[in-house]
Symmetry: C3
Subunit: 316 residues, 3 copies
């Protein structure tokens, strides 16, 4: 694997999640694999779970990890070809990525969208420029439009939880209220991974919150939350801002998920990628119940990162 | 040992300091003990000595270390049960601590007091919520009211310095001037550790600067600095703000410790936890003299951290 | 080697660069050398290449690395002897450096100039105080006036590139435009290293941009850029602010290096320490051409750091 930026980079998502679960059972079974190899983690935006879980995954494989927390002040990168750099940018991605590629065997990078310009965000300029110039394998640690390590962890969580062999689980992604405009990345990514894994996926959200169709083709889109939740086995709660009216958010507190709303899906498990705004996105009663898988999802971030690193190390 | 937050978590302080000194003599004697174990260090407030000494201690035991520098902007935690999180907090401690507990085998956390609300600070809400939800052993890296790793290092320093077998050393904690209102943590903690170790402890400070009695019961409280310093073997210099008039500080520059004040304790050693405001808290002549133990105290932070980690690893 | 702050600390620059190239060929050949040794990297100013390359070099030698990013808010150090510390500084370098010396076997420190007071900057107060009080070997990670790790990497780059045995290469350091006032450190340092290595060095810059003569004695100073560039084998492009009119900068965009200016040095290689302002200091066409050595220079930062650490470890 030379890059991990989308489900499209993965030949077989089910076998990848199986391998991740094998690593979960034997975390140090491959600890010689990363000997003398360096993972560079570049954060253009802050991170908690992603940094810590990736670091843990890499050290369990025997790698050295170097973390670079970049903020706009410290290392403003230029991305435009041919730019005359007499302004605020201090280094071109060509030079920065190429240098990092000499120091690291694998690079992970986090780069959020600006949510101002849809074409720019969906072109994934930062991520793609890094891939182009780094010269080493690159892992998305959440890009402008996708968060594949989260989705792989989500898939692992569903697969280790679901024990019924006779039928596929019914998975529902439900939009949740939030006080801020958030990226579509987690939702886009969850949709494309669930569909690639052959899950029965429904997506429910207020009208106007449709995700980009490229990611959701094959899922049922249902504007009525109650209807969508019926008989759900896994309910993924997540806010996102509008793709159509780009970056716009809605004030619809009635979309908060509560116990009462799950009266027709009494066995449904609750998922969220964290951090979660309690009693805004979903209620304490759900998060604190045995239904909740959120801590398992956080845990599975380790094995998602570890299996991706393993695949890349195998090919170095 | 499942937590290290106070002297009360330690069955026998003398034997713990003996074990620390044994590690000082053979730092790498236990380097297999922490293999495949991860220490997470969470700093809600800045740190220098604590972070570096804990990191060094952990790596000498073979552990991996992950540092999380948290500031209010980056990761504002919610601590109130049942909070509707539509404000500035972005994650509840329940979720943050539980996730960290999946990534780390032991967690260290630093969380200073606000010095605004005494009940809140002395309830140690942050520390206790982390302990409650992390699910792994927790070490205080200085909490709102105590700094046990510093006090253990101080005890180690006194015990390795004191060679007279016939009598216990006379230890004096003296309040010092400062330009800022500081927590009571180092002073509270030093008092409780000295008393637990059976030292002859006097505490001297201006009236109104009494520490919480829970920590000082058994010590002589003397408001006359000259009288307290007489024949002292160890003189611990430290500023703290008022416990009674909570968070209030005093402008009393005459409390600065100088050579002249030690005319009746000519052999007394000088201690301070650092960082020290020179010529405000105590004079250059003392800090730069052979009396000063401050760099040994800083050094002994390593062995304090290492013995605590060892005890926790022994029980994992 | 007890310190690495200038070419003067190196007995033989050619043999040092030979040893660095040997490490480049066998990066892990000395990985037992740094076992149980700790490198502390203290950044008073931000860093990217220097931190990452030093960290990589140290771990390849088996060392543990601890990074301390210090900014003015977090850890304002006092450097004046006898200061009454009732102001903004929170710790004296005497105490801070001595404590760090207990935690680390080797310390690297970065401390840029203020560019306000020439005498102060050129006295290298911060670096020298750290050396005086740390009690362990100290490496400059770029000080107020010199950047020896960069210059060693530059020398390595020239020596691995230059294959003609009959004559010495002609090396030209050319001043470049920039929008900010930059230190003289890279230029001072490049000059002293090239001269110590016996290179044929010319320096070209606008009048008034003369570097301190201590560093350039033995080089030709040429104010006419075209004349200086003629038949150059290596052209080092760098901005610096004025040493004479201290910290002052010039607006002279016509000094930007372009392909057209190299019509009489068609084989000359282009060097720059990065980060580079493209199309301000030099043109895209040069940076993106096969002439450019800038990424090799960045790569060679690893081996420069590694050979210096090796020399220090050899003597611990």
């Amino acid at each position: 694997m030379r890059k991990f930026t989308s489900v499209k980079d993965v030949p077989d998502v089910l076998s990848l999640s199986d391998e991740a679960l094998a690593l979960k059972n034997a975390p140090f079974s491959q600890e010689g694999l990363g000997k003398h190899k360096t993972l560079g983690l570049i954060f253009m935006n802050p991170s908690l779970r992603t940094r810590i879980s990736s670091q843990k995954a890499a050290t369990s494989l025997g790698m050295e990890v170097m973390v670079l927390n970049v903020d706009k002040e410290g290392w403003a990168l230029e991305f435009r070809e041919g730019a005359i750099m007499n302004g605020t940018t201090v280094e071109h991605v060509k030079d920065a990525a190429a240098a990092m590629g000499r120091y690291c065997d694998i690079i992970g990078i986090r780069c959020f969208p600006g949510l101002q310009n849809r074409e720019e965000d969906y072109a994934e300029i930062i991520l793609n420029q890094f891939i182009r110039y780094a010269g080493v394998p690159v892992i998305s640690l959440e890009s402008a439009t996708l968060h594949p390590l989260q989705s792989l962890a989500d898939l692992i969580t569903i697969r280790e939880t679901w024990k019924e062999s006779g039928r596929k689980p019914k998975v529902v992604l439900t939009w949740a209220p939030h006080i801020k405009a958030l990226p579509q990345a987690v939702a886009n990514s969850f949709a494309e991974w669930m569909l690639a894994a052959g899950m029965d996926l429904s997506i429910t959200h207020p009208p106007g919150m449709e995700l980009k169709e490229d990611f959701t083709r094959g899922a049922r889109i249902i504007h009525h939350q109650d209807e969508a939740l019926q008989d759900a086995d896994f309910i993924y709660v997540k806010n996102w801002s509008s793709y159509q009216d780009y970056g716009h958010t809605l004030h619809q507190p009635e979309w908060m998920l509560t116990e009462e709303k799950l009266r027709h899906s009494s066995l449904g498990k609750i998922m969220h990628c964290l951090p979660v705004r309690r009693n805004v996105e979903l209620s304490d009663e759900l998060l604190d119940s045995a239904r909740s898988l959120v801590i398992s999802q956080a845990d599975n971030r380790i094995w998602a990162a570890q299996v991706v690193l393993k695949k890349m190390l195998d090919n170095l």
